[in-house]
Structure formats: structure tokens, C-alpha cells
């Protein structure tokens, strides 16, 4: 019993050290733990894989509603989904409701485009690419990064009518009116109704909920990539059918990477994540045992 009481007074810096070691050691000496995709992630993968729901060439809107503080959680799933879209010959249009979202989108797009182009021949040989896939993908034709726009719900409402008005230029200042990706065969202005799927990588407010708010107007299928903190909140939208799928935190990214058979930072993070969870669970158990032991000691003293 005394050992538990001593543990209760353990300096919190020892806890920090143990948690740090539980992350560093599995990163330095990696070993694989199985990653089993959940229904929410599998549904999103299935929807993007479905050629009837999203025929080749379909444009999808990806909103990067996070900043560097949430990058380790959300970028891996964004990269995995972008790679999957490139393999399916879908055209991602990236925007942002968060100020640094455009920068986050740029990093993810560059990584995903490089990953797609560097593995093009191998993937083609294995028959894992859509028939219309090209070895080199071009900005403004196959994908675009529009950057950040202020306004949240009002901004999304504007996108429902006309993409070009809130986004006359992309993030780099190129005129969007001349871009092939926004051209409609019948000459109509490009609007949200031309988008096959909306995905928001959400770190907090102003993410997927702005698109859900406007769902009555755009009527497009929606999915989310969210931080772990938001998983309980967004699960309600999954249950109500407002979201077709969701990747939650780093585990969600690992599940998506497993489904597209491209292990990345999500899969690499699962071993340290599991070990760190075990260490924290042990500390919680020891903390509670120490608390019970202390209560008993006090009761004995009084008795």
C-alpha cells in the first residue's frame, strides 16, 4: 500500500518522461500493429472508390479547416484521401475556412501529387489506377489550391451559387476563370452543385459544420476528417446520415492508408500511439489505486 501512496506524490515530470519514452522508443524501433478500418472510414473509402457515385473526372471540394497545431492529426488523412482521388482520376479543388488552411492544403497537395506520380508505373502495372489516369498531373487542370476565404457560412453560401466570385484567383494569384478544372461542358458557371463530394478536414469550429449548415442548398454528399477531440461530436452527424464517412484523428488516417495500401505517417504513428495509451492507462490505474490506499489509511487513522 505504501508504494501506491509514494507513487501518488511522484513528480509529474516523471510522467512526462515516461510518455515521451513511450513515443520515442517505438518510433526508433518500429514494429507493426494491426490496423482494422472502422465503418466510418471504410464507408468514405467505398464512396470514393465507387465509379457510379463519382465517375472519373468528377471534381471534389476539399476544405482544409485547420492550422499547424492540428497538422500531425489531419495532414496524414488529407494526403491519403488526395492520393486515392488522384488514383481514381478525380479532381480535388482545395479551399479553406481557416486562415492558414491554404498553406496546409499546399503541403498536402504537393506530397500527394509526388506520391501519385512517383508510383504511377507500379500502380498502373498492378491495375490499381482508373483508365483515364495520367502519369503527370497538372495544377489548374487536375487539381487546384484556392486558399483561404473569410466568411464561413456566408462563404459556403456564396460557393453554392458561383465558385468564381469568392475565388477569382487561386492561392498563388492565378486567375481561376481560365482554369480547365472549372470549365463546364455546357458553359455554366462552376458552382457547388458541380462538386461530387465535399470533405472538410476540421480542427474545430468553422469546418464541416459550415457545410452541413448549407446542406439544404448544395445537397452534396459530405464527409469529414477530424481531430480526435472532435470524434464524439461529429459521430452524431454520421448517425443522422448527414456525413457519409469520417476519418477521426491519426488512427483514422492509418485506417485510410491501410485501405489504399499506402502506409504513411498514420500507420507509422499507430505503434507509439498504442504504447503511449498503455502507459497513460497504467498511470491512471496506479493513480486510482494510490487514491484508494490513501483513503483507507485515513480511515484507519480515524478508526
Amino acid at each position: 500500500m505504501n508504494i501506491f501512496i509514494k507513487l501518488k506524490n511522484l513528480d509529474r515530470r516523471w510522467v512526462f518522461l515516461f510518455v515521451a519514452l513511450s513515443v520515442i522508443i517505438p518510433l526508433l524501433f518500429p514494429f507493426a500493429l494491426p490496423v482494422v478500418p472502422t465503418k466510418a472510414v471504410a464507408n468514405l473509402h467505398k464512396f470514393i472508390e465507387n465509379a457510379e457515385a463519382l465517375p472519373e473526372g468528377t471534381r471534389c471540394f476539399l476544405s482544409f479547416d485547420f492550422d499547424p497545431a492540428s497538422e500531425p492529426e489531419l495532414k496524414p488523412s488529407a494526403v491519403a484521401i488526395l492520393v486515392h482521388m488522384f488514383r481514381r482520376n478525380l479532381k480535388p479543388i482545395c479551399g479553406a475556412n481557416w486562415p492558414v488552411g491554404g498553406e496546409m492544403a499546399e503541403v498536402a497537395l504537393v506530397e500527394a501529387a509526388n506520391a501519385y506520380m512517383s508510383t504511377y508505373e507500379d500502380m498502373k502495372a498492378q491495375g490499381k489506377l482508373a483508365p483515364g489516369c495520367k502519369p503527370i498531373i497538372e495544377r489548374g487542370v487536375d487539381y487546384v489550391n484556392l486558399g483561404y476565404k473569410t466568411g464561413a457560412i456566408i462563404h459556403v453560401k456564396a460557393l453554392c451559387n458561383d465558385f468564381m466570385y469568392p475565388y477569382p484567383q487561386d492561392r498563388d494569384g492565378n486567375s481561376t476563370a481560365e482554369m480547365a478544372i472549372f470549365r463546364n461542358p455546357d458553359g455554366r458557371r462552376f458552382a457547388m452543385s458541380d462538386v461530387g463530394l465535399i470533405i472538410s478536414f476540421t480542427a474545430g469550429t468553422g469546418g464541416i459544420e459550415t457545410f452541413i449548415s448549407m446542406a439544404g442548398e448544395h445537397k452534396r454528399p459530405m464527409a469529414a476528417g477530424c481531430t480526435s477531440v472532435n470524434i464524439p461530436r461529429f459521430t452524431t452527424y454520421l448517425q443522422s446520415g448527414q456525413l457519409i464517412g469520417m476519418t477521426g484523428g491519426l488512427p483514422g488516417a492509418a485506417e485510410y492508408e491501410t485501405l489504399i495500401e499506402r502506409p504513411g505517417k498514420g500507420c507509422a504513428g499507430m505503434t507509439p500511439q498504442s504504447i503511449a495509451h498503455l502507459v497513460i492507462m497504467l498511470f491512471i490505474i496506479f493513480g486510482n489505486l494510490a487514491y484508494i490506499a490513501e483513503q483507507r489509511n485515513e480511515a484507519k487513522k480515524k478508526g
Binding site: V19, G102, P168, S175, V229, P232, Q242, H277
Partner: protein
């Protein structure tokens, strides 16, 4: 290559400065904190606000020949946008203690538009779909798990709503017990939220150590 090397070293040193806070508050941590605030404010004002919002959405539309590119440079100027531009400028009156009331016109406009949209969308997209999903049959024939799941959902919804009904004291066999069930549901949801938060924080820590061990020290691939 040199730029990448410098940014990696700066990133690594700033990360270590932040980690020093775990030992105790110190000048290295405060340096990193102040640097972050300053750089964020400058970056947000110049690169983001001006180049991604103000220039393409206001200046390029009022003076296309000067600020727009491509075919947009030949577009007809939209002078109507001077009105929202002026409304935006009114916000600067907040810096004056005597004239700060002028900025209220802009705030009132934004509040009016946002509230108008939010009232409709909140009911349409949040309240109704969630209530609709909570109206489920308690017995699903041949599906025991489905029946149990629906029962948990309905009992949880009703008891939690009961708990937040403060006009009646939570006492007695009905009010007291149902509110207690509501507390249990809330506690379980707080536990789930706490677990998810821990998971998120560990993921962020993994991200930082990944950066330090791979990009900076090249110890892992």
C-alpha cells in the same frame, strides 16, 4: 536546400524551447511563445488577409486593371463593393475611445446577416435531423443489437434532456432517477471526450517527435 536546412533547425530549436516548459516556465519558452504570436500576426495580416482576401475579393474587383490578373483584369469595376469596403474601414474606429460607437454599424450588419442565416440553418440542419434520428422503434424484429442500440439512444436522449430541465427539482422516484440516468450518460460522454482528447494530444506529440527524429536528426526514415 539551405533554406530547408535553416527552417528545419529553427523548427527543431523552437520545438525544444516549447518542451522546456514541461520542466518549468523559463525564458526559452517565453521567447518561443512571443515569437509565435508576432510571426502569426504578421503572417495573417500580410500574406493571408491582404493577398488571399482583400486583394482578390475587394481591390481586384474595384480596380481590376491594377490588381486583377488574366481576363479578370478586363472586367468592369464593381463600385458597389466600395460600400462593404467602407463598412470594413469603420471597424478601425474601435481604436478611438470617443468614436468607437461608429464600428457598431459594421458589427450590427454582420450580426444581422449571420443570425438570419444561422436561425434557418440551425433548425433545418441540426435540430430536425437529430430529433428525426432519435425517433426510432424500440424493438427491431430479429435484430437484438439494433433493438438494444435504439433503446440506449432513446433512453439517453430522454434522460439527458430531463437532466437539463431545471424548472423542476431533480427529486423523487421519477424526476430523481431519470436525471441520475442522464448524469451517467453525461459522465460516459465526458469519458469518451477525455479519451479522444488524450488520443489527439498523443498524436500531436508523435508528430513533433517524428519531425525531430526524422527531419532534424535523420534517425528514422
Amino acid at each position: 536546400m539551405t533554406t530547408l536546412l535553416i527552417t528545419t533547425w529553427v523548427g527543431a530549436l523552437i520545438t525544444l524551447c516549447c518542451f522546456t516548459f514541461l520542466i518549468k516556465d523559463n525564458p526559452f519558452y517565453r521567447f518561443a511563445e512571443h515569437l509565435f504570436v508576432g510571426v502569426s500576426a504578421g503572417y495573417y495580416l500580410s500574406t493571408i488577409s491582404f493577398h488571399q482576401v482583400l486583394k482578390p475579393n475587394l481591390l481586384a474587383k474595384i480596380w481590376p486593371t491594377y490588381f486583377a490578373s488574366g481576363t479578370a483584369a478586363e472586367a468592369t469595376p464593381e463600385y458597389i463593393l466600395i460600400i462593404p469596403g467602407l463598412l470594413g474601414l469603420l471597424m478601425l474606429f474601435r481604436f478611438s475611445s470617443n468614436l468607437s460607437w461608429v464600428s457598431r454599424f459594421t458589427v450590427a450588419f454582420v450580426m444581422g446577416v449571420s443570425t438570419g442565416i444561422a436561425v434557418v440553418t440551425s433548425a433545418e440542419q441540426y435540430l430536425i435531423p437529430q430529433v428525426k434520428k432519435a425517433i426510432v422503434p424500440l424493438i427491431v424484429s430479429g435484430d437484438y443489437f439494433g433493438s438494444f442500440s435504439n433503446l440506449v439512444l432513446v433512453v439517453g436522449t430522454v434522460s439527458c434532456l430531463f437532466y437539463f430541465f431545471f424548472s423542476t427539482e431533480h427529486r423523487g422516484p421519477v424526476f430523481g432517477n431519470v436525471a441520475k440516468v442522464g448524469i451517467w450518460y453525461l459522465m460516459i460522454s465526458f469519458g469518451a471526450a477525455f479519451g479522444a482528447t488524450v488520443m489527439g494530444r498523443i498524436s500531436l506529440l508523435i508528430g513533433r517527435f517524428n519531425f525531430l527524429l526524422s527531419d532534424w536528426l535523420h534517425l528514422i526514415k
